[in-house]
């Protein structure tokens, strides 16, 4: 029975994401379903522009939750990711409260007594009011849970990865002055990586590892259909077929799904009804981002269009 439930639940995830305009493959839907059931983060790897970040947005929109995004970069540290003491506010308060402090401490005769009294205030200046929550802490404290997107984790330093481990496995953070903060509702965590460097095994072990590659032709057509509704069916087939041909070339940067969608929009704007050599030549810079790539693709355009048209007839 549980098995029946699982496959229908995975289908529900698929259609839920589709309603948000994200056409997910079966594997993606399985990953989203599993991450929810066994409360594990998803680590999404794949080339740029295949919809890794989009997935997090779609999951957040589908579940009706807030999305908190942490963009990683070299030099990101816990002060910017986790929490920070509001140093300026602390200074300002001590300046303003100077008189009051003097008044309170004025009663003490000796330095020792003044120190005693100061201790009585407790950690006034190291309380919750002076903590500036950064994305990770915000995500833990968000009532009702949220979707936490840790974007491009491979750009951050290895030390930052270790910092994440506590959050990813137990959904908690330890602040030395305040104690441990537990998540009220465990957030759905999605990490993305462009494989710029290899991530640590400790981090990978705590995650479901999902690789999103370039989609199959059918899937990509559906993605274009949902994102660019104005495009005609023949043109859609032709252009997706063309892009699949382009991806077989040895290029510096292959066009990914985001480029496909951009190109579809451009073609609709130019009111093209079908692909021809002229229009492809004029708009190739939407697909390919390097001069060398464009030069490599130029001579192949006519053959690729013919191939795409042929596959269209038989497909």
């Amino acid at each position: 029975m549980a098995e029946q439930k699982a496959s229908t639940a995975i289908e529900a995830v698929e259609s839920g994401l589709a309603a948000q305009g994200y056409i997910a493959s079966r594997q993606i839907a399985t990953a989203v379903y599993l991450s929810q059931r066994i409360e594990k983060p998803i680590l999404v790897e794949g080339p740029a522009g295949v919809g890794k970040t989009e997935l997090a947005k779609a999951v957040a929109a589908w579940r009706g939750k807030k999305m908190i995004r942490l963009q990683c970069y070299e030099g990101l540290d816990e002060a910017k990711a986790l929490y920070e003491w509001k140093y300026a506010k602390q200074l300002l308060y001590t300046q303003i409260l100077k008189d009051k402090l003097g008044e309170v401490l004025g009663g003490a005769r000796t330095l020792h007594a003044a120190l005693e009294q100061l201790h009585d205030f407790g950690d006034v200046f190291f309380s919750k009011e002076f903590v500036e929550p950064r994305p990770l802490l915000q995500a833990l404290e968000h009532p009702g849970g949220c979707v936490l997107l840790i974007d491009e984790i491979d750009k951050s330093d290895a030390e930052f990865e270790s910092l994440l481990l506590e959050i990813l496995s137990d959904f908690q953070v330890t602040i030395p002055e305040l104690g441990t903060v537990f998540a009220i509702t465990p957030p759905t965590v999605i990490l993305t990586s462009n494989s710029e460097r290899d991530l640590g095994d400790a981090l990978k072990r705590r995650c479901l590892h999902l690789h999103i590659g370039f989609p199959e032709q059918r899937l990509e057509e559906r993605i274009v259909e949902s994102r660019v509704p104005g495009i005609s069916q023949t043109l859609r087939r032709q252009m997706v077929g063309f892009i699949h041909e382009i991806r077989s070339l040895d290029l510096k940067k292959l066009p990914s799904v985001s480029e496909t969608i951009d190109w579809a929009r451009v073609l609709v704007l130019l009111q093209a009804s079908e692909l021809d050599t002229e229009i492809v030549k004029d708009t190739l810079n939407v697909l390919l981002k390097y001069e060398a790539d464009i030069e490599a693709a130029q001579p192949q355009i006519t053959t690729f269009i013919a191939k795409a048209a042929r596959s269209n007839v038989f497909g």
Partner: protein, 458 residues
């Protein structure tokens, strides 16, 4: 089925996917969530939870397909109980056997295995093989030489002894049936052999590879056989990956707790020097700059080949590599190595400078003329060669100048220390100007040497 999943974890380890106990627990939890009925979902689930990179996903996918293509012992079928309760099975079988094996069979007195073979019940035979394989713990198989012993263990577990007795008996009483039984026995042996081969493919890959790599790592590079060159290249690539992982950590490390007073004051000038914003000291680390001079004459060529391959696959770790090859004169080969596949590059280098008799002196002169000014105090210079200069002028004075201009000068010599200084070897004379001289004849020594060089920059 639970048992099967555990066996699959072992097979996955055999395929080179690292599965720790914690991961197998997670995978079991995930499998419990999705169930086992839908194989596609099960495959996705295992791939999501166990694999940690694209390579591992491919390996694991293959392993999954191979693993679940074999017949599983199915408990719900009555035939599968054969091994536990031979009598019962024999009875149920004898009725079936008589009907499909033709006329009045005298199969009453036969053992269960003979019954099963004569009835030609493929499912039952497959199930019996699988459970016998379990009894013989086929998943412990490690080396291809163990195939025979595992085959015979499985056959024994299936009751081969009894079958032999039956055969002897039948040959006397019913030769025709004995002939048929013998033929089916051959078929059974083949099936068992296939099962063992599959088990070997599933469970033993890792072990066999480890053993082969271990041998390869310690084999002298100059004397490896032609067919091993490709394997050696793969091994070198593996070494490069390991070095990359170890040394590609960020070079910038914040020196936490050390206030950068100057930057703090400057940043807070607007508030009259009251330190609202603090700035901390950082420490930069250099990435290695390497300049390699490789002898490509005669026996050293092979070692130089692997060394250049290793150095040039360390992009993430090493900032800047320039390589030079020489035998009688010296040329720069960095571009050739960067733009071509290892095989082609090496062939081109050899056609340009290889096969000459080595002349260290004139090669050093070539270097001094054209490239001496590229040396900086951050550069590590690596010389690779046997220092056998055919009794020509060694020009050790140039080597001294190289040593003075660079951070370090390391000499890697494929020859053993014993041979240094004998015959036309100029090693002792050169060694005085080197920061480090070491022997470098095997892949393992190569790895250590490069690892040490990179480590001095950390």
């Amino acid at each position: 089925m639970r048992e099967n999943i555990h066996r699959f974890f072992r097979a996955a380890r055999g395929a080179g996917v690292h599965v720790s106990p914690a991961e197998s627990i997670d995978a079991m939890r995930a499998v419990a969530e999705v169930g086992l009925s839908d194989r596609a979902i099960l495959r996705d689930t295992l791939l999501l939870t166990l694999a940690k990179s694209q390579d591992e996903k491919l390996a694991l996918g293959e392993c999954f397909d191979l693993f679940f293509s074999q017949p599983e012992p199915r408990q719900e079928q009555p035939e599968a109980n054969n091994d536990d309760t031979p009598q019962e099975a024999a009875q149920s079988r004898s009725s079936g056997a008589t009907s499909d094996a033709g006329a009045n069979q005298p199969s009453e007195g036969l053992g269960p295995l003979a019954q099963m073979l004569l009835s030609q019940d493929r499912n039952a035979i497959a199930a019996a093989i699988a459970s016998a394989a379990g009894a013989a713990s086929l998943s412990d198989i490690r080396y291809s030489t163990q195939r025979g012993i595992f085959s015979s263990r499985i056959l024994d577990a299936m009751g081969l002894q009894r079958l032999r007795d039956d055969l002897d008996e039948l040959t006397a009483t019913n030769p025709a049936l004995a002939e048929r039984l013998r033929a089916t026995l051959e078929g059974l042996r083949e099936a068992v052999r296939d099962t063992v081969a599959q088990g070997l493919a599933l469970y033993a890959r890792e072990e066999a590879e480890n053993l082969r790599n271990e041998i390869l790592r310690n084999a002298p590079l100059a004397r490896i056989e032609r067919r091993q060159v490709a394997e050696m290249r793969a091994l070198i690539r593996q070494i490069a990956r390991r070095l990359r992982e170890r040394y590609s950590k960020p070079r910038k490390r914040q020196r936490r707790g050390h206030l950068d007073v100057r930057r703090t004051l400057r940043r807070n000038a607007a508030w009259g020097g009251v330190p609202f914003l603090t700035a901390w000291k950082r420490k930069h680390r250099d990435r290695p700059k390497i300049l390699a001079l490789c002898d490509v004459s005669g026996s050293v060529a092979q070692v130089s080949d692997f060394f250049l391959l290793l150095i040039h696959s360390l992009h993430e770790v090493v900032d800047d590599v320039r390589s030079f090859a020489f035998s009688s004169h010296l040329i720069e080969v960095s571009d050739i190595l960067e733009s071509k596949s290892p095989e082609e590059a090496m062939a081109e280098i050899m056609s340009k400078v290889g096969f000459g008799s080595s002349d260290y002196g004139s090669s050093l002169v070539d270097f001094e003329k054209q490239w001496m000014n590229t040396l900086t105090p951050q550069t590590t210079v690596i010389m690779l060669g046997d220092a056998r200069s055919n009794n020509l002028d060694p020009r050790a004075d140039i080597l001294r100048r190289i040593s003075e201009r660079s951070k370090r000068l390391v000499w890697l010599n494929p020859e053993g220390r014993l041979a240094w200084g004998f015959g036309d070897s100029e090693m002792p004379r050169y060694a005085t100007f080197c920061s480090l001289v070491r022997q470098c004849a095997t892949a393992q020594q190569l790895e250590r040497a490069v690892s040490d060089i990179v480590a001095t920059y950390q």
